[in-house]
Structure formats: C-alpha cells, structure tokens
C-alpha cells in the first residue's frame, strides 16, 4: 500500500497554486488535509502525476462574515468549526455536524473544501451544506464562478470542478431565528461513514424547507419544494405531518431499490425532522 510515484508542488500562494494547476501537463490532484486522498493514493485508486499541496495557503484559511452569509476558506478544518474558531451563523448547527465527522484525528486535518471536492455522498458536509443552502466559489486561472451545492455535487465522487479549478470559498447563509434545523445520521460504528443521512432546514413561519436525504449511492436528494413531504403545507405542525411514504418514493426514484435501505433512510430523515421540531 504505497502510492505510485508522483510529482509534488507546494505553491506559496493561491495564484501560484492556480498557475501550477492551470499549466500542469500531467494529471494533477490537489491535496489539502489528505484524509481521503492519502488512503486513495496508498491503495493506488488514484495515480496522479502531480500533487499540488494547498494546505499551507493562508488565503484559503480565512473566514469572514459578509452581510447575511459566512464565507469560509476551503482549507478551514472540521476541527476549526467544531472548536468554535469560526463565527457561528447557523446557531450551532455546523459546529454539531463538524463534531461528529469521523474521528478527531480526521477532523484535525480534514478540510471543508477537501471534503466537498471529494464529493463522497456519505460525507457530512455534502448533505449538511446542501440543506443549509450553501454556495461555493470555484476559482481557476481564468476566473471565478459561483455554484450552489446542488449544482456542485454531480454524483458519487463527482463534482462540477473542471480541470485547473478548485474550491476557494464556501458561502453559508445565516440561519434565520425562525428556522429549525435537524441533522441525523446512522453509522455502523462511531466515526464510520454514515450509511444514511437526513438533514432539514425548515422555517414554518416562512413555509419553506430544504430537506436532504444523503449517503445514498449518488448525489444527495435535495428537496427545496418540500411541502409534499409534510402533507401539502409547511407549518408549525410539520413533525406530525411528515409523510414517510413520500420520502420512500423519492428514494425509489433516486434508484434506491432495496426496501430495507429505504426504510433506514426514511427513518433517519424522520429523526432529523424530530430533532428540528424538538
């Protein structure tokens, strides 16, 4: 379990990193925390000719509040969020998600941008940030573009990143005081990847909700028009109105053919709904 030979670049700033990526003639991979890429290299599941290490780039560790959103640099670690070193705009939601990602050793090094770029459907941020309505700035030598989480996660281990492009920042909308948040997952054991994730951001006063069913074998199911999940309307009694059958149909449509798997997903989502309503 040793990686195939690869070149290694450690650019001094973001511009240099983009230049290395943009000009690379060989296949290149970005490494930040290395918590997924490291094992994949060792298993030779990926054999890039060049590794570009962005873990030292100060620009990607910056965090600031801009108006109604929090802008996180891609190299902010899960532990930075867990430990409260970044401003809280989600009334503790992100902090709780971060604190339950894998193990502390993974959280110390793993980054939000890295996790999203890897696009593992079982990763917490893929579902949580989709439910929170986050957007991402993607940057390459030719400029920047902004995408929603739904547009960014294309499939299992597939993102919208183009060659030479990287996640620069994550934009998380501040959570309104009237909104409720619920997040639940089921893992075989502590620290393992989840085999079912449910996330919900619901605002009964505004009759809006974003609901995510994650850790399926493709991009998470993101439901932005969620009234049907709650018997046709979103109101204060949403917990009692949660319709498991609707979630089950959504899962079946998304290709989850096994009834026991769907049952687990539906019930994890139900837990998230209950948590939001608690």
């Amino acid at each position: 379990m040793k990686p195939a030979p690869f070149g290694y670049e450690c650019p001094r700033d973001l511009q240099a990193a983009l230049a290395v990526l943009g000009e690379a003639k060989a296949s290149a991979k970005i490494i930040a925390g290395g918590q997924s890429l490291g094992p994949m290299l060792n298993l030779r599941l990926v054999e890039p000719q060049l590794i570009v290490d962005i873990s030292g780039l100060a620009e990607l560790k910056q965090v600031e509040r801009r108006g109604d959103e929090l802008v996180l640099g891609a190299c902010v670690t899960h532990a930075d969020i867990e430990d409260g070193r970044i401003p809280d705009v989600t009334r503790g939601a992100m902090q709780r998600v971060a604190g339950n990602i894998a193990y502390r050793a993974v959280r110390n090094r793993g980054t939000v941008g890295g996790s999203l770029s890897h696009a593992d459907p079982a990763a917490d941020w893929v579902s949580a940030l989709s439910a929170l309505g986050a957007r991402l700035t993607l940057r390459s030598l030719s400029g920047a573009r902004m995408v929603t989480m739904e547009d960014f996660i294309v499939g299992a281990l597939e993102s919208a990143l183009r060659d030479g492009e990287m996640v620069e920042t994550i934009h998380v909308p501040a959570m309104p005081a009237s909104a409720h948040w619920g997040y639940a997952k089921s893992c075989r054991k502590t620290g393992e990847f989840a085999h079912a994730i449910g996330a919900i951001l619901i605002d009964p006063s505004a009759a809006t909700a974003r609901v995510v069913i994650g850790a399926i074998e493709s991009a998470p199911i993101v439901i932005t028009s969620a009234a049907e999940l709650f018997g046709g309307r979103i109101a204060g009694d949403y917990k009692g109105r949660f319709d498991a059958r609707v979630a089950d149909v959504l899962l079946a449509k998304a290709g989850v053919s096994n009834a026991a798997h769907r049952h687990i997903h539906v019930n994890v989502l139900k837990r998230a709904v209950s948590e939001a309503a608690a």
Partner: protein
Amino acid sequence: MRSEREFPSAGGAGAGQGVGARLPRKEDDRLMRGRGQFVADIRLAGLQDVAFVRSPLAHALIRGIHVPERFRGSVFTAADLAGVNPIRAVSGLPGFKISEQPVLATGKVRQVGELVAMCLAPTRAEAEDIAAAVMLDLEELPAVHDMRRAREPGSALVHEHWGDNVFLETNFEVDISGALDAPIKVSREISTARQCMSPLEGRGVVATFDHRLDQLTLYSSAQMPHITRSGLAECLGMEQGRIRIVSPDVGGGFGHKGILLPEEVCLSWLTMRRGHPVRWTEDRREHLIASSNCREHHYRITVYADRDGRLRGIDCEATVDSGAYSSYPFSACLEAAQVASILPGPYLMPAYRCRTFSVATNKCPILPYRGVARTGVCFALELMLDLVAAEAGLEPGEVRLRNLVQPEQMPFDNITNKHFDSGDYPEAMRRALAAIDVEGVRERQRKGEADGRRIGVGVSIYCEQAAHGTSVYSGWGIPMVPGHEQASARLTPDGGLELRVGVHSHGQGMETTLAQVAHEMLGVDVAKVRIILGDTAMTPYSTGTWGSRSMVMAGGAVATACRELGERARRIGAKLLQHDPAAVVLQNGEVRGVNGSVTLKEIAHTWYRRPQDLPADVDPGGLEVTAGYKPQRDTGTFSYAAHAAIVAVDPDLGEVEILDYVIVEDGGVLVNPMVVDGQIYGGLAQGIGTALYEEMPFDAAGQPLATTLADYLLPGPTEVPTPRLDHMETPSPYTQFGVKGIGEGGAIAPPAAIANAVNDALRPLGVELMQSPITPYRVVEAVLAARDAERPAA
C-alpha cells in the same frame, strides 16, 4: 477455593509476586513506551523489500506472466523456485484429501491474493511499482464461492483431481433414534460470517543468511517459531539446524500467526539466492484480502427436548468453508471436525449426531482463530436453546440450568467423551443471571422504552478445552502433536534467573506471568527474572502458543525446572551452611537452616566463581536445568464462563447498543488475575466484532468485498462496553497450581449472548436473527419481513 497449602513455600514472604498476584506486566514498560521491537523495526545492512504480484482472480489458469524487460532480474516466479516444495498440511483422519499449496502459483490460481510473483527493490514502494508493471495473462474459471453449493454435483472444482470439493467429511453418532419422538423439536439453519483476524501488527518477514553459522535466519511475526522451522525446512529441503527462526515482539497472534506462510518460504529462498537480507511486511490490504480468514460456519441443526426443556438430543450437519488450501500445521479439517466433538458443550443429553464437512472454496485458507470452532458452536447451540426455552415456555436461563453438567458429576465425560476436569457450570450461570437481573429486564420490557427502542437480555455459556495434549492431537494426524513441554532455568552468577521457553508471548503477558511462577517456586524477585522466548536458537522445542496452552504447559514446565533448580541450590546451600541437606529449606529466595541462611545469589556466586567451596557430591548439572512437563492427564483443562448481555435494538434503524454485559468466568487458579481480566476484555472485543461488525463477504466471482478497514469493520473503544466480571476459581485437579487455559474464552460466548439478547428484544415483532454479524441492514430486513408476514395477504 484455592488453598495456599497446595503451593510450594519457596515464595514465602514474597508471595505478593507469586501465583495469584495482580502484578503490572513487566513487558508493558517497553511496549507502552514504543520501545518494542517488531519485525518491521529490524534494520539490517543491505536489506531490500519485497512486494508480491497477487492473483486478482479467485480461480484462473495462468497463461503467462509478463515481466517488462527493465525489471527482469527483480521479479521471481514459480519457474525460478526449482526445488522448493509446496506447503502440505496433511491430516491423518480417514478420507482427508491433500492440497498442495505452491509458494508461488503454478498452473492455476485458487484464490484472490494468491502469490504469483515476487518483486524485489530497495524500498517497498519501488517493489510495488514493479509488481504493478507485471502483467498476468489469466484465463478465468468459474469460482467456488459458496461452501454449500460447492458440495453439489457439477460444481467447479478447486482441486480437480479430488473429484469433489470436500477436504474431509466426518460422522459422529450416539444413537439419535431415541430422541426423534421428543415433544419439542426445533430446526434451524444458522451461520457465522467469514472474518479476518486483524491483529494490530500484521505478518512480517525478514530473511537473511549467516555464512559463518551456515544458517538461514528468518525473523517472522510468528506465534509458533519451532513449528515454522519444521515446516520451512520441509519446503526448502534443508536440515532444521540450518534454520533459525526469531520471532521478536509480536503484536497479537490469534491464530493468524500460527501458520507457515508461503511468503516465509519465498523470502528464505530469495535471501539465499541473492545474498542479502530481504523483507516483506504484510499491509492491511493484504491481510484483509489474501492471507487467512476464519469463522465461516453453517449449521443445519435440530434440537430435541422434553416439555420441561430437558434435552433429548441434537442432530446437526455442519459445514465449514476451509478455503483453497490446507494450512500448515493445523490443516483444513481441524475447524469442521472439531465442531462434531465440541457442539454438545457443557450440556447433558442422551443422543447426539453430527456430520461435518470441510469444504474447499476459492477463498483464502481458514485458520483457527481465538476460540477456534467454539465461537460458531456456541452461537449455534445457544441460539437453539433459546428457541427450546420459547417452546417450553421457560426463561432461557432456566433451560440452561436444567441441562448443564452438575458439579457433583465432575470429573465428567460428556457424550463426545470430552473429559471435563472440574467446575460448577450451573453456579456460573446462576451468578450471571443474578448479576444481569433478568427479572428487572422483564419488568422494563413490560413498561417499554421512551425512545421506541426495544431491550432484550441474552445469556450463553461454553466450555473451553485448553492445553490439549498428546492424546488429543495424535488422533488428528496433523504435522504437529504436542508432547512434553520444556523450560530451561538458569541462575546467573549474580543471582538472577533466566528462563527459556519455546512458547511465545504476543499480548498474553507471559514475561510477567512465567516470572510469577518462577517466583512462586524460587522466591527470586520478579524484576530479576528474564523470560527468553521467540527464538529457536535460544529456547527448547515447543509447538508454541496456541490452544490456550502456554500457562498450563510452559507454566508447568517453568515450575518443574525451577523446582529442580531449587533442589540443586538447596543442596549447595546446605553445604555452605554446613548442614545436613535434609535440615535446610528453600524459602523466600534463601536456603535456611538453624544456623542461618544463604541467599540464592550467594549460592550462584559459589557455583560460578568459587567452585572450590562446592560439596563433593554436587550435581554437575549446576544451576541450569531443562525440565519437561505434562499435566497428570493431558486431555486438556476445561475453563468456562457464563455471559449475559442487555441490548437495546432500534427496529427502525437496526442499530444495536449493548447496555450491560456480565461475565462470570472460571479459569481455575489464576496466576495473574489482572492479566486474565485483560484477556477477557480483549476476547470480548473480538466477540462483539463477530456478533455485530466483522464480515468478509465474497461475490459470486470469489472476490473479497471488504478490502479496506472502511468496509471491514472492527469494534473500537466506543463499541466495547466495560463488562462486569466475576471470577470463580475451581482448580484443575491435573495441572501445576490448578491452572487452566483461559486465552480464548472471551471471544467465544459474546456472539451467542448478544444474538440471544437481540432476538429477545425483537421476539414480540416476530423477528429471529440466526446469522452473524447482526448488522443494521439485517435487523431492518428481518423486521420488514416479519411485518410483511403479519399483514394479511391482499
């Protein structure tokens, strides 16, 4: 129950370090500070690394092996290994079919991960680059992936010349006909998953050749170094004296480190061919995919009982997936054939029939893992007893109490002629039932849980035959039969004690516990006792550490050698004290008479440095003794434990949480109860792994599917509760100090206790789980199936 009077008195006032003392482990000072030396820590000048080209297919003909021109000379295949013999582990049991395991594949490959070529480079990464560049031309054959289908006519064949896929079939019967009209008759199919043993340290080999000694030295992470030497010599066609096996610190064995590896043979050949040291270190992927598995059993079992729950008989057909090859030295049939002899466990029954099959498949060989067949057997029988209890309308604990062997029957020969040396099995069960508070659980079940989960209680009990001797193993006819165990004891000139034993310690704490035995006999401070093990050049021959035998056998041998050494010292001491030898005693590290005393240190000084002061009739053997030991009866010690678990099951998510866990254990006299507690904790963790997490699935092409630790789940600290332990102490009448082997028991009973608890929790839903591990998916699948079954047909 232990009487101090049964012990020699040499320990005297220092008995705080002797048999029974909860001494911290001496070796932990080294191991916990990172100063242990494992195979991968060994550095030798000129060392090069090996990576193997392994078969990507489970079953295929080898049409060609293409080595790029630039790597010729760094890649070795079977064609290069002329004169190297395949590994043959034959059993003498009638009908056993022999497999030959080539150390590098010849003709065809029979499992994913089988060694095809050996690649040599200055570093492992470069060796892996070479391995990746070697192209195999394979013609895929249908894979034998299911042990039950493998027995059907028309199945693909792992070894064509056999004509079928059965290594061995055995039949055992004590007339079952009288049981057939029993009012309770329960039949089920029960299975346990294939597992990987997963020691913290994998296997590892460093091979080098010493021209001065004309000797191959093989450093290997092995638990039976002397057996490895015999097997290696047979494969290489070398005299055993030209081979030295050194097994340094070993990070867990569990059986995985008991076998002779093809890698060991390959690297031995390679260092002799190349003239420089070579190394191979098993990585986790190789461990998961390629080397050895364990535990895959299937039972078709019927239990007959009277209305009052008393057993009338058991009828069973057991199948074990033995994998592609018979491993050296335990063979491919030990596991399945053992099922027939141990299935009845500690229970009374008048009738019994068991038929077993050791089946060859295109998977890696199955090895005896901690508990060997007992974990599967305990799972099968204890799950069935809960069904008998349900049929009889009794508490599961009550059914056990009505069928367990009674203390007044000891020593007891059960229906398969297993000789139980001692014990009070019902008492262990009663204590476990009381500690887990079954009544309390029933009350709680009536009330229900606020969080919607369901709780259940489960119990299990087993016996663990340990330190099997000549009379047990000679019948297997495998390459290894334990005889007398030997130990060497030597007083050093400054009064320290060196002990040499052929068993090994890989987590068992024997550097401490054997020193305690020596202290008990001689009174030498445990800190001054050095235990030398893991080196064929420095230790007496031994079959090594397996079958929970080391404390019984090596402990007995150390006691015997120390007794003889003490006697010699006493005679020298008598002379120095100018006493009649009959008038002096060895006590607390001193020889004492009415005139005064002389210490062992002074006696040692006299023997080595002032021989002029020795008595004329001194034993010329001096202060160095090699002595051998066997228990009075060598049919094995029987330790046992009752386990009881309370679980909470979430029927919607399938998650199982262990709320409470009780173990009432009787391992006879405990040399170091703290070490025993550690053994039980470790075994419990592995048992929980079997119960809830660990599974190596294969697809129909014979591909192993859990190829990383993200897929092969091992329990971690958060999954293993702290059990409540209670010890009983019934000495074995046959062994030194009354000790019994206890190394494996912790891993035997948990799957049964936990599965019974889960089934107890879910029984009101009509759910029954008869397969390990109990995963969330299996729970939910069973809950949904039960729900569908209840719904009236549309």
